[in-house]
């Protein structure tokens, strides 16, 4: 895979390159389901009255809720297929290195966010075993209906020097 594609290396100084955009509706039921999946039983994620009493317009999403957007985005653009096919990464060696969220506004049920995913950087670094690893950072900016940025998410994928189980 990697030897058939010659991807353009992107340094941090270059402007982000557009990858895809999608619509991400934020829903009460999905928030409750996601909260339960991480064992978060705070009533604020499950009971709109509790959320409103705490000052929210509706039930707020847990801090890592943006991952739910995987259900709404085109996986061929946002998932491993993009890394493999467009960037030529060897997915058997790719691990999820880091993830970051910057919170600008509360993410609450009933809103529809517009997400734009970009490639921020694509760099080779010296690995600990003397080889080379490749670090790819993508960013997703989520905006509300009037264009205000609500959330910024950064996803770091690392192509390691050898296969995970080797």
């Amino acid at each position: 895979m990697a030897d058939t594609v010659a991807p353009t290396r992107r340094g941090a100084a270059e402007p982000p390159a557009f990858i895809t955009e999608f619509v991400f509706p934020v829903e009460r039921g999905k928030i409750a389901e996601f909260a339960r999946s991480i064992g978060e039983d705070s009533r604020i994620h499950h009971d709109v009255d509790v959320a409103v009493a705490a000052g929210y317009a509706d039930v707020p999403a847990p801090l890592t809720y943006s991952v739910v957007s995987a259900h709404f985005a085109d996986a061929s653009r946002t998932g491993g297929a993009y890394l493999a096919e467009e960037l030529g990464m060897d997915m058997d060696r790719v691990v999820h290195g880091a993830h970051e969220w910057e919170y600008h506004q509360p993410v609450v049920a009933g809103t529809t966010l517009r997400a734009t995913m970009s490639l921020v950087s694509d760099e080779r670094r010296a690995g600990r075993r003397g080889g080379e690893m490749r670090v790819v950072v993508r960013e997703v900016v989520y905006r509300d209906s009037v264009g205000t940025t609500v959330l910024t998410e950064r996803i770091t994928a690392i192509e390691t020097e050898k296969t995970m189980g080797a």
């Binding site: 991480i38 604020i44 705490a54 707020p60 739910v68 993830h99 296969t163």
Partner: protein
């Protein structure tokens, strides 16, 4: 905060809720074909657990930024021990930088994390005990 022992059901529930259907996290046959002992949890499940610790300690509404770095895989049967390791001054007097981590019971680091927390909101969270 201790969470576990982690079950395959926990992993599958998170896959359904979050939408990560990479078979490496739910299909033992596939995972073994890659040389792994079996499925392992998504790093983001551990990040979700750490977000609970942040919410419990500081209130989710006070969190301005949350960064997680995945250090090692978490396997079914492991129990995660989540800790706040340090609370340092942030760039402004109203913000603190919180260092936190998830490790297994043997002390193997799984996730290291950092959160920028607005101290004003944090104070109101702890004094009122809301949210």
């Amino acid at each position: 905060m201790r969470i576990g022992p982690l079950t395959r059901t926990d992993i599958v529930r998170y896959a359904g809720a979050g939408g990560d259907f990479n078979p490496i996290h739910h299909d033992d046959v596939h995972a073994r074909s890659l040389g792994l002992p079996g499925v392992f949890a998504m790093g983001l499940l551990g990040a979700g657990y750490l977000s609970r610790l942040l919410h419990a300690e500081f209130g989710a509404a006070s969190v301005a930024r949350f960064t997680v770095r995945f250090r090692a895989q978490t396997w079914p049967g492991e129990t995660l021990v989540l800790t706040v390791d340090a609370v340092e001054p942030g760039l402004s007097p109203h913000q603190s930088l919180v260092q936190l981590s998830a490790a297994n019971e043997d002390g193997q680091l799984k996730i290291s994390a950092e959160a920028l927390v607005n101290s004003d909101a944090w104070t109101s969270h702890t004094t009122k005990g809301t949210a």
